[in-house]
């Protein structure tokens, strides 16, 4: 089962559309700040420099400076680190919550399924960002709490997908065969059900990553994400709100970056879905 999957990687890369290839490059560039921000960023993102405030993009400050004299490019790079971490952690949290729940609910059905889905319905009665706001209201603003908030907020959707996939898989004849020869439930779920559920999970995790970045930056915009002086894209956009007419670059670059990254992830997600299962479309 494992060997076949990896030998498809190279031809997969070759078959990508130009848009998808560009998106891959963008996402790759996004992950660089995660590893080595200090090498990439020319300045300290939180260093206030009163003599350099409101500098337009120039040779010294490629993307200009904000109202505190902080270099926008450096803040963008460190902000990438925050956004990427938020995406990874919150998606991981969602997966951690939803997979056991979804698998159990879908495989065993019965009261467990009923209760789980009712809880999911109730939690999903709070639209996207609202749930994140509720968690932030309880835990307080901050990057860690934002990660938890988004992770919990998106978990119900993941649970539905995992459960749905499990429902389909458990009807397959090979499951019945496995059960007939006496395989224990735990092994069936681990070795047969879960690998087939992974496909759907990967698709929703990719979309979920983009959603996490959008909700995360929205929280930042509202002042409820990573707190100043930490660099966060949404907060940077909010900082520049009052200067749109004159010092437009303070909001423009972080905003454009968010849009570009989310766009790239969406394009990649579409390509991934096509490759993983062309029948799904």
């Amino acid at each position: 089962m494992q060997r076949g999957r990896w030998s498809r990687v190279v031809p997969f890369l070759q078959r990508l559309s130009p848009a998808a290839k560009l998106s891959l490059v963008i996402v790759f560039c996004l992950s660089l700040p995660l590893i080595a921000p200090r090498w990439l960023a020319p300045y300290d993102p939180t260093a206030v420099a009163p003599s350099e405030i409101f500098q337009p993009p120039s040779a010294r400050h490629w993307l200009g400076t904000d109202q505190f004299g902080r270099d926008i490019l450096s803040r963008l790079i460190y902000g990438a680190r925050n956004s990427l971490t938020l995406g990874l952690v919150s998606v991981s949290l969602s997966v951690l919550i939803s997979v056991p729940l979804g698998l159990a609910a879908g495989y065993y059905r019965g009261p467990l399924d009923a209760v789980t889905m009712r809880v999911v319905d109730i939690v999903m009665a709070f639209p996207g960002i609202l749930l994140a706001l509720v968690v932030i209201a309880i835990l307080g603003p901050g990057l860690t709490n934002a990660m938890i908030a988004v992770g919990i907020g998106e978990a119900p959707a993941y649970t539905r997908v995992v459960r749905g996939s499990t429902l389909v898989v458990r009807e397959q004849s090979y499951i019945e065969a496995a059960r007939a020869i006496g395989t224990r439930d735990y092994r069936i779920i681990k070795d047969y059900v879960f690998p087939n559920v992974i496909q759907a999970l990967i698709v929703i995790a990719t979309v979920g990553f983009a959603v996490a970045i959008v909700i995360g930056s929205s929280l930042g915009f509202l002042g409820l994400g990573a707190q100043p002086p930490a660099a966060e894209w949404g907060t940077m956009v909010s900082d520049g709100r009052n200067y749109l007419r004159t010092e437009w670059w303070i909001s423009a670059f972080p905003g454009a970056t968010i849009g570009m990254v989310v766009l790239a992830i969406n394009v990649l997600g579409d390509a991934l879905r096509d490759i993983l299962d062309p029948r799904l479309r």
């Binding site: 319905d121 109730i122 009665a125 639209p127 209201a137």
Partner: protein, 307 residues
């Protein structure tokens, strides 16, 4: 049919109850003592904390508190703001109209725009028009709401000066916020209508009509549209919920005094009764729209009723 309606309504009531419980629990889930939490960081003498604790009934067992909260909510009493001591219900009553008109306007724009551009896109497939619409749709889906809002503000308020930036007291004030909020949902609907119609247009009965000499317009309007529109209703209702969530951001961007902005300010000020009230209203509105959507879908598609 009646059984289906009953079942769905019952399910909604259960969800509403769950929402109320969660909203109620919010104050108690905060790490620390609830009575102390209500005071925030201000140093308060212990006697006063105890007094407040008793006054708010926080020293009673949890189920009793829940019953008290539910009873109050049913009567329209949602507590008082910690900062202004005004009844939360009256703050909500003032904020709801602004949010309601924004949400309705945005939804109307999204449905009208989405359906229109979806049809245009499908009927002029693979032309510049189609590509243009697709790009706009992709941008709408990818940009966070606050970014589209700022872009629109920059273009139409700052550069062109066609519309005001903040405020809510006229129709002109409604345009940019409604477009911002509706763009995302409209983009999703446009893509949905486009793919739905392309699928329908490829069917045999369309070719038959075309061969019989039916005009292109009639084919589009009568045959293709009817079937292509069904998923639009359901998706639109789901998008309404996303709209309510997005309203929180849009109201902050355009400084409209709606429920969303009330929620954000209340969170920043740790004013829990206000937070609870705002969250409750938004969640209830979403649940209600979901119920309507499910009932409507059950009405259209008989398979759902008996499934």
């Amino acid at each position: 049919m009646v059984r289906f309606i009953l079942h769905r309504v019952l399910q909604s009531i259960l969800v509403v109850f769950g929402v109320l419980v969660i909203v109620f629990l919010m104050v108690h889930l905060v790490p620390g003592d609830p009575a102390q939490v209500l005071f925030g960081d201000a140093p308060v003498p212990k006697a006063q904390v105890e007094e407040v604790r008793h006054a708010l009934g926080l020293d009673q067992p949890l189920p009793f508190q829940l019953a008290r909260y539910l009873h109050g909510a049913a009567r329209g009493d949602l507590g008082r703001s910690l900062k202004t001591d005004r009844p939360v219900a009256s703050d909500l009553a003032r904020a709801i109209p602004s949010t309601a008109e924004l949400a309705i306007a945005a939804m109307a724009l999204a449905v009208a725009g989405g359906v229109f551009f979806g049809i245009v896109s499908a009927s002029s497939r693979n032309t510049w028009l189609d590509s243009g619409v697709s790009i706009l749709a992709l941008l709408g889906i990818s940009f966070p709401t606050f970014w589209t809002g700022l872009l629109l503000i920059w273009l139409f308020s700052v550069r062109l000066e066609w519309f005001p930036i903040t405020g809510q007291h006229s129709l002109r004030h409604l345009v940019l916020p409604a477009v911002t909020l509706g763009w995302y949902a409209g983009a999703i609907l446009a893509r949905l209508v486009r793919s739905g119609m392309l699928e329908v247009l490829g069917q045999d009965y369309i070719r038959t009509a075309w061969a019989k000499g039916v005009t292109k317009r009639r084919i589009l309007a009568w045959h293709a549209l009817r079937n292509g529109l069904i998923p639009v209703i359901t998706v639109a209702s789901v998008q309404f919920g996303t709209l309510l969530g997005g309203a929180v951001v849009v109201e902050t961007v355009f400084a409209r005094d709606g429920v969303g902005r009330m929620l954000v300010l209340a969170i920043l000020q740790k004013d829990f009764p206000e937070v609870q009230g705002a969250v409750l209203i938004l969640a209830l509105a979403y649940s209600f729209s979901n119920l309507l959507a499910d009932l409507f879908y059950g009405f259209i598609d008989p398979r759902v009723r008996y499934g």
